[in-house]
Amino acid sequence: MSPSSGGDRGAPTRSRAPTRTCGAAGLTTLLTLLAPLALAPRARAETIDATSTTLLVGRADPRDGVIHTAVPVFELVSLRATEFRLRGLDDLAVVISGWGAVVPGDPVDGKHGLGDLDLAFAEGKLLRRRIVLRLGRQLLIGGAGRNLAFDGLSATAMPVRFVGLTAQAGVPVTPRFGVHRGDALVAARAFFKPAFDSEAGVSFLQVLDHGEIARRDLAIDARLVPSARVALAVSGFVLFSLPEQRLAEGNLTATWQLAARFEVSGDYRRTAPDLFLPRNSIFSVFSQETRDEAGGWIYWRLVPRLKLQGGYHVIVDPSGTGQDGSAKLTLTFGPEGQDSAGLESRRLTLPQTGYTLGRAFALLRLAPRILASLDASAFFFDADVNGERQSFVGAANLGYDLRADWRAVAGVIGSVTPFAEQRLEAMVRLCYQGTIRVRQVTP
């Protein structure tokens, strides 16, 4: 198995940062973390929510002018086991989500076996559910986390009504094909949550890489519904890089649901793209750039079965001004609105480049157990992409619901693109999504 790979160069004094894998080392860490649960003799789950997807893809893979054949088989499994009985812990649950792949033929990276864990943690509550503990591989989503995956411990406590503190410590996970995220992570967020729809927090995150600071960020976030009478929600987020003393990211969004069928939102976002690089990267010393984006979105259900979504944003960066506009019209029809068809368009204009998208799609329930989807996209580029100005992609899928929890899907994708004159991909997928009751009780 060759799991998560990759890694940006960290400390420049190293000739090349070693490829960090989540496989052997990560698995060992995880097993160590989860060992106490396995040793608990009375811990048995009664309910398991499971999803399983088996996917076979056959495709022609163009690599610098030569067609290679790849026919990978993927297996994705997700389990959430609940209703453990373990003294001292309430609501104990174990979550595991992972995947494996066998790649016969000629794989891109030469590896014929791949696999990794996306999530693998145990979660429980202590002290009459006042403290929530989560141990293992998990995501850090809110606040300064930027959806960071890590192996470690997370604890959330709400000692006072509406007020809570959450803290994490562990080792960042290097995503497959992703950025090496460092060797150690500590994070904390204090939050005030007076209502379901309102929340405010202050958070801190530090990531170390070989003892050097890769990230040290402070964030303030809030989502507020100012009045219960007006369906207006305002959310904002500010991320400040402490080593650079600069704003790394900030956004402000206001969403106003004027009527049940009409919603409008406006947003402004500023980012400093160079601050997305680790602070210990040699490339962090070359630039101090900012990028601004402002615009709005509408959602309008014109009639009960026809909805329009559209948006327009202006983008400003040191190279000039760009525009990004899009619209999508979706019609639902058939019994209980289970069929849909739509049109979509996007126009992205940037200094010296850009493209226009035209797309049509349909999702049809041909019979109670048979589902079909069609999708056609056309791209028209403002400047040459590999000497071409157009790209066309068409896809068709046919699904069959074997049972309530099972579905099989077969599909083909044909394309004419700047990088492949003609290309065809085939895919077969079998997926399960259901709940398994493991144990029964004898009176």
Partner: protein, 371 residues
């Protein structure tokens, strides 16, 4: 320089001859379907023996509820067993068992089993309720299991709210007073309330600014469906039939990835880093590490002051440079931009005001250029 266009429909047979595809497809289907029969019967209790019982018949016989469910009288939680044991049934129906008439109670007499243990999803004290309703169980339990079980007999939430005012708790999202775990049972009123309009487009900023609120109902597996960090498959490949979803990399993303990155490089950088770019560019011979490297840059890219000089591009889009060239101390930039090099000082204006000179001695990275 640009790579030639490639591929033609005639070569599609190389994907794996049709025979291979058919065999592999059949194998996957066979494996999956082979599990269908056994797995469901073994692990879904609804497929195995059920206890056949008619509440209506017993009510007509004026059997009091508490005669069978006596433990419920003192039950302060739903944890425990409140269905009568077999011995309770035999108090009246012993003759059926002595006659060997197991089918009187068991739907599958050949494989008799007991009650499935129901999942407890609420915090509720029967002890606190029974006296208030004067032991009239039908105040809440208006539907009870009968011989033909076709629908849920659990009292709906409206039964609770017919007595309990929960408007304040609902508005405040304080659901856990009653609900053990909303994640497995997202409540329709809450979902409707919070996910109207163009929620899919807005959920990202919302999750960052109200993460605890999302976690009330959603487990991390829900996020990982689309945002998994180890990237087995693009989500568009994982759910190809979801054509009405707003997926980022749909259709020919390879051809437009440079444009998208140019539009919002930070967006790419959230998930992808150097190795993601480099692995693919190396195969396409676009990096210095490739077997047959060729530069994707214009000829005058290295000449300062030229129309295509790399300097201004690096100033405004340094993450794009780092995507291929960040080899730490071996980075190509250092060759020219180290102290005394022909490239001159690469730091942006104002750099020295935020980075005092003694940082050179403290930060190992600085030693790459400041020898």
């Amino acid at each position: 320089m640009k790579p030639s266009r490639m591929g033609e429909l005639g070569k599609i047979g190389k994907i794996g001859s049709p025979g291979l595809l058919v065999v592999a497809t059949l194998a996957v289907f066979t494996a999956g379907c082979a599990q269908l029969g056994g797995r469901d019967e073994e692990q879904h209790p609804r497929e195995v023996d059920q206890i056949r019982f008619s509440h209506a018949t017993h009510a007509r016989a004026k059997v009091d509820c508490l005669a069978c469910h006596e433990e419920i009288y003192d039950a302060k939680t739903l944890e425990g067993r409140f269905l009568p044991p077999e011995s309770k049934c035999l108090e009246c129906h012993k003759d059926k068992k002595t006659q060997g008439n197991c089918g009187f109670c068991h739907s599958d007499p050949a494989h008799p089993a007991s009650y499935p243990r129901p999942e407890r999803t609420l915090r509720m004290s029967h002890a606190d309720h029974i006296e208030r309703v004067k032991e009239d169980c039908t105040r809440c339990h208006q539907k009870l299991p009968e011989l033909a079980r076709t629908e849920s007999t659990v009292p709906p939430m409206s039964t609770c709210t017919s007595c309990h005012e929960h408007a304040t708790e609902f508005a405040a999202g304080q659901c856990r007073g009653c609900h053990v775990d909303l994640r497995r049972f997202p409540l329709r009123p809450v979902s409707v309330f919070s996910h109207q309009g163009d929620f899919v487009h807005q959920h990202g900023p919302m999750a960052r600014s109200a993460g605890e609120g999302c976690a009330e109902c959603h487990d991390q597996t829900f996020c990982a469906d689309c945002h998994a960090r180890t990237v087995a498959l693009p989500v568009e490949t994982k759910f190809p039939e979801r054509v009405n979803a707003d997926f980022i990399h749909r259709a020919d993303y390879v051809s437009r990835h440079a444009i998208e990155a140019r539009a919002d490089e930070g967006m790419c950088r959230r998930c992808h880093g150097q190795s993601f770019c480099e692995d693919c560019h190396r195969i396409q011979n676009l990096t210095p590490d490739a077997l047959n490297p060729r530069s994707p840059h214009p000829r005058d890219f290295s000449f300062p002051g030229s129309i295509n000089s790399h300097g201004p591009l690096a100033r405004r889009d340094i993450a794009a440079c780092a995507a291929c060239h960040d080899q730490g101390a071996r980075s190509i930039c250092i060759d020219c931009h180290k102290v005394g090099g022909v490239g001159g000082d690469p730091h942006p204006p104002g750099w020295v005001t935020q980075h005092p000179r003694d940082e050179i001695d403290r930060v190992p990275m600085c030693a790459s250029c400041h020898l």
